[in-house]
């Protein structure tokens, strides 16, 4: 009876031990992926924002700007390894109650690493070229190192530097900063009178962009739970600033941060259950039960080798 119990315990222990290992090294890799059916809304706001109003033909200063970013997954375009999400950003001048601008970004990315993939009608506004780097999400198991993110203004990947750990509402995050020194990315043709060059009917000026964009990322889920965008876009003439097209420091609203952190916490718990607590629990329980079962079986065998039993075994063998 003890021997049977030992064998059953051994089998159960092996089952639990191997299940723990497979859960960590196989099941987790198959299951922990970014969703196809994402839907989230995040809002950013900034005060004392300056922008050039095309309708008023002048800079508007000291306004409160609100940016609403709605992200939605295109389930039909996704596969087991690829997700396609579209983000619509709408900027609104809350002080003067007028729309400022909107931008649509559609990107396909790897469901494990978050790296952009060139396919599926990727666009950023009118740009339909190749996208590279990261966009909406960061890798599962984000590390404290530099990454590249696709900048939707420069339309190319830019380096983001790791800048320390920050806890947001109890959630440990990594902070990454994208520093963009003033860089020309386009040219604009406009009336000279608009930029103080009254002698010229039209002038072509260089459009410059500089920014310090900050991302707070949950390293377990790869989700961005907070962002801030300190950006300046200017028109320059041979290096001399002629016009400010946009200048402002936009930060995610506390309500959006709270919402993102709360929903991310559930996902984090699921991933940790699959990659850490589950395998650890199964592995430890399996190892203990396996060892106990093996001891029961082996101990029984040892006791069977008493002189009386050896005599019996010899007789049985002879018979």
């Amino acid at each position: 009876m003890r021997r049977v119990a030992g064998l059953i315990a051994t089998g159960l222990g092996a089952f639990l031990l191997v299940s723990g290992l497979l859960l960590r090294f196989y099941v987790a890799g198959q299951v922990v992926r970014f969703p196809l059916n994402e839907y989230q809304i995040a809002a950013l706001a900034g005060t004392d924002v300056t922008y050039f109003s095309p309708s008023l033909l002048k800079d508007v200063t000291g306004v409160t700007m609100r940016v609403t970013k709605t992200t939605e997954g295109d389930v039909a375009a996704g596969t087991s390894s690829r997700a396609v999400w579209t983000q619509f950003s709408y900027s609104y001048d809350a002080t003067n109650a007028v729309a400022y601008q909107s931008l649509t970004q559609r990107s396909a990315f790897d469901r494990r690493t978050g790296a952009l993939i060139g396919c599926c009608g990727e666009t950023v506004g009118a740009y339909t070229g190749r996208q590279a780097g990261l966009a909406f999400v960061w890798p599962h198991g984000t590390r404290p190192r530099s990454y590249e993110i696709f900048d939707t203004t420069l339309l190319k990947p830019m380096g983001v530097q790791y800048a320390g750990r920050v806890t947001i509402d109890g959630l440990p995050t990594y902070r990454f900063v994208e520093h963009v020194p003033a860089e020309q990315f386009s040219t604009q043709k406009l009336p000279g009178s608009l930029v103080g060059l009254h002698g010229q009917p039209t002038v072509t000026l260089q459009e410059y962009y500089q920014a310090a964009n900050t991302y707070w990322v949950d390293p377990v889920t790869g989700a961005v739970v907070d962002t801030s965008e300190d950006q300046k876009i200017t028109l320059r003439d041979s290096g001399v600033q002629r016009l400010v097209l946009f200048q402002g420091d936009l930060k995610m609203t506390p309500r959006s941060i709270l919402s993102l952190v709360r929903s991310n916490r559930t996902r984090r718990a699921e991933i940790e259950a699959i990659t850490r607590t589950g395998p650890l629990g199964l592995g430890l329980a399996g190892a203990v039960i396996l060892a106990a079962g093996a001891c029961l079986v082996l101990w029984r065998r040892k006791s069977d080798r008493s002189p009386a039993n050896t005599e019996y075994e010899t007789a049985a063998a002879a018979w």
Partner: protein, 45 residues
Amino acid sequence: MIRLLIAIVIGAMLAVGGSLLTATYLAGVMNGPPANAPLYNYGTG
């Protein structure tokens, strides 16, 4: 000793089979349409 090894192999094989089934089921749920893919729908609101 042989029975001990057989018990370990049976337990390990059951674990492999169970893990394959679990991974297949969960991956199918995640790759399904929204109504059938409730996992990891984070960031709403």
